[in-house]
């Protein structure tokens, strides 16, 4: 055990002491991973306590991209807050926007016409597929297969181009508004969605051939980073991470919003809660999203795309809550209003924050190389954790 006055100890988090392990006087050591590291997917710092190659404990350090979005929200109007949620989980920006809009709608009693709801569902599902495609690409890359990155991005760019045509942005959309969306979809929207569905079906089979049945991938993910069901619930995990552990929590089914209750789709559930299940759940989710897209594009209504715009969004006093299912899990907006144009307090519950908190439980006892696999299958977005 290192003495308390050691200089080394001052850099360690409290309660994080190194012990002698082996009979030969070998000692535990610690390794800093991040904040600048290719497989932490952003600026996340993990202090890893190691015994040889074995992970003893992982302590995440956050805040390297904490941008004070909640404080800024208190000085911006309700509608202006929408664009800040783009920059939290930028791979689910449409769905984040939707959550803020839903909270405002709930507070002010605004309804959305049929076409507006269908646009919301279709765009959300496209966003989910787009996010999972990027995850698939970077997952392969984290395990050492650079070509998956190119395959994943090739398909993703098609959806990105569609979004660009839809709202002018490729990443930070700011498209949804209370009562519908910023603008109507262009005429080319439906034919392009159908084209993308066809391409994706082919691509997903290709992905399966590349990774899903790959013996190296199976070897590196099966039985690695197991998160039992009870622990997943206790940590507040959500999204594919929780569903891989068998937690039946998908807001689209659990408490349906928009028009999700009209579509037929399954919620894929894993059994073991290991990395392979998390991988499989995401692959299956893309197929389910395609199912929703097919049903929605078959019955795309011609009505107006939004309801009447309010002259101002002065939210009556009270606290309001809305939740959606992003590509990473349960995203909630909780806002407190004092009958003003600006929120008194606005808070976004990020799914990544809770998902990452279970990392120690998943990786302790495994090898250091498995930590990268676990991080990759958690699919974290660090700006969403730090906000």
């Amino acid at each position: 055990m290192i003495k308390a006055d050691s200089k080394l100890l001052s850099t360690l988090p409290p309660g994080f002491a190194l012990h002698d392990t082996g009979e030969d006087g070998s000692q535990e050591y610690f390794l800093n991973m991040g904040p600048q590291h290719p497989s932490t997917h952003g600026v996340l710092k993990l202090v890893v306590k190691l015994d040889g190659e074995k992970v003893v404990e992982v302590v995440p350090h956050l805040g390297f991209i904490h941008r004070a979005i909640e404080k800024m929200g208190e000085n911006e109007s309700f509608v202006q807050y929408i664009h800040l949620t783009d920059r939290m989980d930028y791979l689910s920006s449409h769905i984040n926007n939707l959550c803020v809009c839903m909270a405002i709608e709930k507070a002010m009693g605004i309804g959305v016409p049929e076409r507006g709801e269908y646009i919301r569902v279709m765009v959300s599902e496209l966003q989910r597929i787009q996010s999972h495609l990027l995850w698939w690409g970077s997952f392969g890359m984290d395990l050492g297969a650079v070509s998956t990155f190119l395959y994943g991005f090739k398909e993703r760019e098609k959806i990105t181009a569609l979004f660009e045509e839809l709202c002018g942005a490729r990443l930070t959309m700011n498209f949804f508004r209370p009562g519908g969306s910023n603008s109507d979809v262009p005429e080319t929207f439906l034919p392009r969605v159908k084209e993308i569905i066809q391409d994706l079906k082919f691509a997903l089979d290709e992905f399966d051939a590349l990774l899903t049945k790959n013996p190296i991938i199976i070897e590196r993910t099966r039985g690695v980073g197991i998160l039992p069901k009870e622990r997943a619930i206790s940590y507040g995990c959500s999204g594919p991470v929780a569903r891989a552990s068998g937690v039946d929590l998908d807001v689209r089914k659990h408490s349906p919003y928009s028009v999700y209750d009209r579509f037929e789709f399954d919620v894929p559930l894993g059994k073991n809660g290991d990395c392979y299940d998390r991988y499989w759940v995401r692959m299956e989710e893309m197929r389910q999203s395609i199912r929703i897209l097919e049903q929605a594009s078959a019955h795309f209504p011609p009505d107006p795309y939004r309801s009447k715009e309010k002259p101002n969004y002065k939210v009556p006093a009270g606290s309001y809550f809305a939740s959606v299912e992003t590509a990473r899990g349960l995203f909630c907006t909780y806002m407190v209003s004092e009958n003003a144009m600006k929120p008194y307090r606005i808070k976004s519950r990020s799914p990544n924050f809770s998902n990452l908190s279970a990392i120690n439980e998943m990786s302790a006892g495994g090898k250091i190389a498995d930590l990268v696999t676990i991080l990759s299958t958690l699919d974290i977005i660090v700006p969403d954790i730090d906000r």
């Binding site: 956050l62 991209i65 904490h66 941008r67 004070a68 930028y90 309804g111 659990h254 009447k308």
Partner: protein
């Protein structure tokens, strides 16, 4: 304060003269840039898109991105730089062997971008920390814009920028100057001058063109929309009245937020879209949550979030719970005095996820959680003064207040 490193010993030649050796070195350096994998936020995805097959930056000699600064000579600052990351960024820059270059990608690294006002942690422009060669505006910039930025950098290198000096400035600790307010007076003067000139020009135009009758502005009228009634979405699981009844059996002193003198009938009147928002005293806080979690009829096993609201005279700690099997939600709030460090029991024994939520609440509001195993700051540095989400938080050295 970081001491300034010695200046580069190579003398810089005047730009007008370029010897053949310089030309060759510049050409070689410009076409073999080694970027560092450095992405903090949204721009990183566009940087990845630039590297992917559609845009393929390898065409411009940006070979494989390196994960170690010791193998790289270009940082593409993709994403916001916050104060905690600032010192790390300087370390990364120092670790790169020279000559080294920096591209500031996106609005955040140029000026703070969307996070310029009201943010207590974002550094308003990465050039306050390290010298930047090329600025690529956009939020985020398109891959084509980044490629153009790279081409501009290559131009600079060919012209002799490969002799970059190694100097850098320390982190900006003095009060941040609000450029917007500073420029306002100057701007007003210019506006006045412009108005005078315009007036003169209009009069001259009238004299020169006596027949001109002006034009009619045609306004584009957008489509009109009708109001739509919201679709009712009943909450799932136990009805709120039943939930309230069960709680009232065990905790008769329970109140409900914004419903004074609560009765069962009043809760029933609120309808099936209402989610119960109970107010609990400090003594009953932990027993209530424990009851909600363990009771067979309720089984609220999922903590959605734990947060707080600063009401200036008191704090409200707010807990959102969900039952995964049954589907009902509940909001629990507990009032705390507005002290330096108000105290409440920790939930981390009941919900493992509460650990981080409580650390976050401690960081933002300074609320102490009794019995928490590891109560440290979550996002901010340990020496950060105060708790930023309190309403009385002011820090002119970090925050530029929105002037409108």
């Amino acid at each position: 304060m970081i001491p300034e490193p010695p200046k580069s010993p190579i003398p810089v030649l005047p730009n007008t003269m370029m010897n053949p050796v310089d030309w060759v070195v510049g050409w070689a350096r410009a076409n073999s840039l080694w970027p560092l994998v450095f992405g903090t936020s949204c721009c990183a995805i566009e940087m990845m898109a630039t590297a992917s097959s559609d845009n393929d930056w390898a065409r411009f000699g940006l070979e494989v991105a390196r994960a170690s600064p010791r193998q790289a000579d270009l940082i593409i600052l993709a994403g916001t730089i916050v104060e905690k990351m600032g010192s790390r960024l300087i370390t990364l820059y120092e670790q790169m062997p020279g000559p080294k270059y920096v591209i500031a990608m996106g609005a955040c690294t140029i000026s703070g971008g969307p996070f310029y006002y009201d943010s207590y942690s974002v550094i308003k422009g990465a050039d306050r920390l390290i010298p930047v060669d090329v600025y690529v505006p956009g939020c985020p910039p398109r891959p084509e814009a980044l490629l153009y930025g790279v081409m501009k950098l290559q131009e600079l290198i060919r012209k002799g920028a490969w002799r970059n000096s190694l100097t850098h400035k320390p982190i900006y600790r003095e009060p941040i100057s609000d450029l917007m307010t500073k420029c306002a007076a100057d701007w007003e003067e210019k506006e006045k001058k412009k108005q005078e000139e315009m007036k003169e020009a209009q009069e001259r135009f009238k004299v020169e063109n006596p027949d001109y009758k002006g034009y009619v502005i045609k306004r584009v009228v957008g489509p009109k929309f009708e109001e739509v009634a919201p679709t009712p979405r009943p909450e799932r699981g136990l009805p709120q009245v039943e939930l309230f009844n069960i709680l009232l059996e065990k905790f008769p002193a329970l109140g409900v937020y914004s419903v004074p003198e609560v009765t069962r009938e009043k809760i029933a009147e609120l309808g099936n879209q209402y989610v119960l928002d109970v107010v609990v005293s400090r003594e009953d806080y932990l027993p209530l949550i424990r009851f909600l979690q363990s009771d067979e009829r309720l089984r609220m096993n999922y903590l959605i979030e734990l947060t707080a609201v600063d009401w200036k005279d008191h704090f409200d700690v707010i807990v959102h719970l969900l039952s995964i099997d049954k589907g009902h939600k509940i909001f629990v709030r507990c009032s705390l005095p507005h002290d330096e460090h108000p105290e409440i029991e920790s939930l981390s024994d009941l919900y493992a996820g509460a650990n981080w939520h409580e650390r976050e609440t401690y960081d933002f509001f300074g609320i102490q959680f009794k019995g928490h195993p590891d109560l440290r700051r979550m996002f901010l540095e340990d020496d950060f003064p105060g708790h930023p989400l309190r309403k009385d938080f002011v820090d002119p050295s970090r925050v530029v207040v929105r002037p409108y």
